[in-house]
């Protein structure tokens, strides 16, 4: 999932969509705040104008002690006797002593009562102070707006008109407004989001194409790579152009490598042929010399046995060489057991070189594995002997052998801390007749390599100042092994 979101193909359109949504949201909030301010001001204005409209008739009513007229005025022609609910808005007329003269909510504000000791009384006192001089005063309390208008006669105040707007009016109207705004915004986003997505996708498309082409470099052969990339004038186009020229250079480089590889191969064949010729030529020379000297000796003095023995040894040497070259993993159906591994340890310990070397052996096998025991033994023996000798050669070092099963593989790792193998030798280390040791045949690693390859595995070597490590990985695929056995038979 995370990988999906790492793709620009998703991230770019998503960013555009997110930006448009965030913009809408902030515009929406700004409108909301402005609307709240406007609504509050509107509400206050309407309360004030309503109060002013009522003031003339209410003033007269108070002056004439006409409760009913004041009541009908503040009640605004609503049907009497029926409770109404405008979010608890109210209008109260107070006489000059501050007693209730009339109100549109008589049950809440009974006639001739005073507002003593109610929160409203405090508010009223506060607003009255502000309203000194006959001005309108405003207040906001308990989620509603209040307007207080002194009722003035010619030269004095006859009473007070207190108006309270609907409770939570601003909030409720704002919510209604925002709900509408939200719907509009959702509608807009329904258009903008797909557009943003499409645009973002379009922007990213050349990049995606480029990325796909790059991925194919590692998968396909570069010669076969047919990859149309965008090469416009913008930055992505420049990337595409860069990619094209890189591809061409890669092709040229690969061509060069192929040529070098072919030459290397020829060189290796030459080396091998040379090695074979050398190995066969030596006994051949000996044998020819023996035959020659046999002929030159008088018949009586001819020693058949000696000559024949000489020729036989020569031929045997040739045979050994040839059979070593034709490595065959003689497949037997005997599974490799932990004991086989331990046997090799014992064999190595018996080696003369082991006496000067610290051999640490880690046999990670618990149960028999479906691998030919002989093959595994030979690989281990060859690698182990090589390691012991390399360690001993540098004057007593250490060798470490790790055998363990990892999933469907058996891993054999043999390392020593002897002299590192030079890079030039590493490249040819698995070739036959290549030896880094005086007296070596140069066939040990060749044989090991052949066995590993025939088992379907891989072997690799690394060497540096820390030491040298051979690592063979043998697959435990039953089928593969069985097939191998089948093919050999």
């Amino acid at each position: 999932m995370r990988g999906r979101f790492q793709s620009l193909r998703i991230r770019m359109p998503l960013s555009l969509v997110a930006v448009s949504m965030a913009t809408s949201f902030f515009v929406f909030m700004a409108i909301g705040v402005q609307s709240a301010v406007n609504l509050r001001a509107d509400l206050q204005r309407s309360l004030v104008s309503e109060a002013r409209a009522l003031s003339a008739i209410v003033t007269e009513a108070v002056r004439h002690d006409d409760v009913w007229t004041a009541y009908t005025a503040v009640n605004g022609g609503r049907y009497s006797g029926i409770e109404y609910d405008e979010r608890e808005s109210f209008r109260v007329v107070l006489d000059q002593y501050g007693r209730i003269f009339a109100s549109d909510r008589p049950r809440q504000f009974p006639l001739a009562a005073a507002l003593d000791d109610t929160p409203l009384a405090w508010l009223l006192a506060d607003m009255t102070l502000q309203a000194r001089g006959g001005a309108v005063s405003h207040a906001e309390w308990d989620g509603r707006q209040f307007v207080l208008l002194p009722l003035l006669s010619e030269d004095g105040q006859v009473g007070t008109l207190l108006m309270a707007g609907p409770k939570d009016a601003v909030r409720i109207r704002l919510l209604a407004l925002l709900k509408q705004g939200l719907l509009v915004m959702i509608g807009l986003l329904a258009v903008i989001v797909p557009l943003g997505w499409a645009w973002g996708s379009r922007l990213v498309a050349p990049l995606v194409q480029l990325a796909q082409c790059m991925r194919r470099i590692s998968q396909d052969r570069i010669e076969d790579l047919e990859c149309p990339v965008y090469t416009g004038g913008d930055e992505i186009g420049q990337l595409g152009q860069g990619f094209r020229s890189m591809l061409e250079e890669l092709r040229a480089k690969q061509e060069l490598e192929r040529q070098m590889l072919a030459q290397d191969r020829l060189a290796a064949i030459g080396r091998i042929a040379g090695g074979v010729a050398h190995e066969i030529n030596n006994p051949l020379t000996g044998m020819l010399v023996a035959i020659d000297s046999y002929r030159q000796q008088p018949a009586s003095a001819r020693n058949h046995d000696k000559t024949l023995g000489l020729i036989e040894r020569g031929l045997r040497q040739i045979q050994e060489t040839v059979s070593a070259l034709l490595v065959e993993c003689r497949v037997e159906r005997r599974d490799c057991t932990p004991d086989d591994i331990d046997d090799i340890e014992r064999l190595l310990q018996a080696n003369e070189a082991a006496r000067r070397v610290a051999l640490s052996w880690h046999n990670g096998l618990q149960a028999p594995l479906p691998l030919p025991a002989n093959a595994v033994r030979q690989i281990l023996l060859n690698l182990g002997l090589n390691a012991l000798q390399a360690a001993a050669g540098s004057g007593g070092g250490s060798v470490r052998v790790d055998i363990e099963q990892s999933g469907r593989d058996l891993i054999l790792a043999v390392s020593n801390d002897g002299e590192p193998i030079p890079q030039s030798q590493l490249e040819h280390i698995f070739e036959p007749f290549h030896t880094g040791r005086p007296g070596g045949t140069g066939l040990g690693l060749w044989i090991t390599y052949q066995i590993v390859v025939q088992l379907g595995g891989e072997i690799e070597v690394s060497s540096d100042d820390q030491g040298t490590c051979f690592r063979a990985v043998l697959p435990l695929e039953e089928g593969a092994v069985a097939e191998l056995a089948e093919g050999r038979r």
């Binding site: 009541y71 009497s80 006797g81 029926i82 008589p106």
Partner: protein
């Protein structure tokens, strides 16, 4: 002069066509008969009043204008100055002006020319069971010249508090200038109690039960003479006698019966001023004492 709205003009024309046999030109040309109305009835039903005036004009052969004023006093002054030819007023101002007013006709309500005054309170005020329970509360009167809307309650207070303290019986009183408004004031909670014309309350209970449903009758007065139709003594007796005749025969005419039904009345009858002796007694007992405010 009354302006004729298109509606009114059309009605006049319609009526003129219907009454083709009567001397139309005479009717239109004649001075209109002006009848003063007070809120002793539901005088805010404009369409009904229009129909009634058309019917009366047809019967009288003379246009009829209803003159409406909010306060009884205004109509009394109009009568006094002969700005109206007749008026439907309350029994209380009638007994006050017995010497200057002629009794033309008395409405018949539920078989008798009588009605009651109601003292009402809010339906939910269970603690108020009689007039005394309204002491210290706010109270709505209809008009200082109303029998049922003022005089009766004033008289009852006179009985309850013969010595003094009548002024401070209620915490606060006010006039609403109309029986309907008294009911509205009580229903809304503006007043804890009110003094109201029983006939008006009954009519309103028929037309707007949701309004009267908010109120409850605490006390019913004895029967009094129903608010009468009167005229100023000595002004065009022929014309007034004709009006009284038309009213008294109203129940015989189908359209007249319909109008009466709309008023909730059975008809009009002639009666002597004696019918209003009860009101006169209360008026003399209470005298000019007032206690509003």
């Amino acid at each position: 002069m009354v302006m004729l709205t298109p509606m009114r003009r059309r009605e006049f024309l319609l009526w003129g066509a219907a009454a083709a046999l009567t001397p139309v030109h005479h009717v239109l040309a004649a001075e209109p008969l002006r009848i003063g109305l007070t809120p002793v009835i539901l005088d805010d039903r404009v369409a009904f009043l229009r129909r009634w005036s058309v019917w009366l004009a047809k019967q009288l052969g003379q246009p009829v204008n209803f003159v409406q004023r909010a306060k009884y006093q205004d109509i009394m002054e109009q009568l006094d100055r002969r700005h109206v030819d007749a008026a439907w007023i309350c029994g209380y101002p009638y007994v006050q002006h017995l010497d200057t007013l002629d009794l033309l006709a008395v409405p018949v309500y539920r078989g008798e020319p009588l009605y009651h005054a109601y003292i009402i309170t809010q339906r939910k005020r269970r603690e108020v069971q009689k007039l005394e329970d309204l002491e210290g509360r706010s109270f709505a009167f209809s008009d200082p010249l109303s029998n049922s809307g003022y005089l009766y309650t004033a008289y009852r207070l006179h009985q309850l508090r013969p010595a003094n303290g009548r002024d401070r019986f209620f915490r606060r009183t006010f006039f609403t200038w109309g029986h309907r408004h008294v009911i509205e004031a009580v229903a809304s909670g503006l007043a804890d109690g009110g003094s109201v014309d029983g006939y008006v309350w009954d009519q309103l209970a028929r037309l707007h039960p949701e309004l009267t449903g908010q109120t409850r009758i605490v006390e019913r007065s004895p029967a009094f003479g129903f608010p009468p139709i009167v005229s100023t003594h000595g002004s065009e007796p022929g014309q007034q006698r004709q009006l009284a005749e038309v009213l008294s025969q109203m129940h015989e005419d189908p359209e007249g019966r319909e109008l009466l039904a709309s008023l909730g009345l059975d008809g009009f009858v002639f009666r002597t001023p004696k019918l209003y002796a009860g009101i006169a007694l209360m008026a003399s007992t209470v005298g000019d004492e007032g206690f509003a405010g």
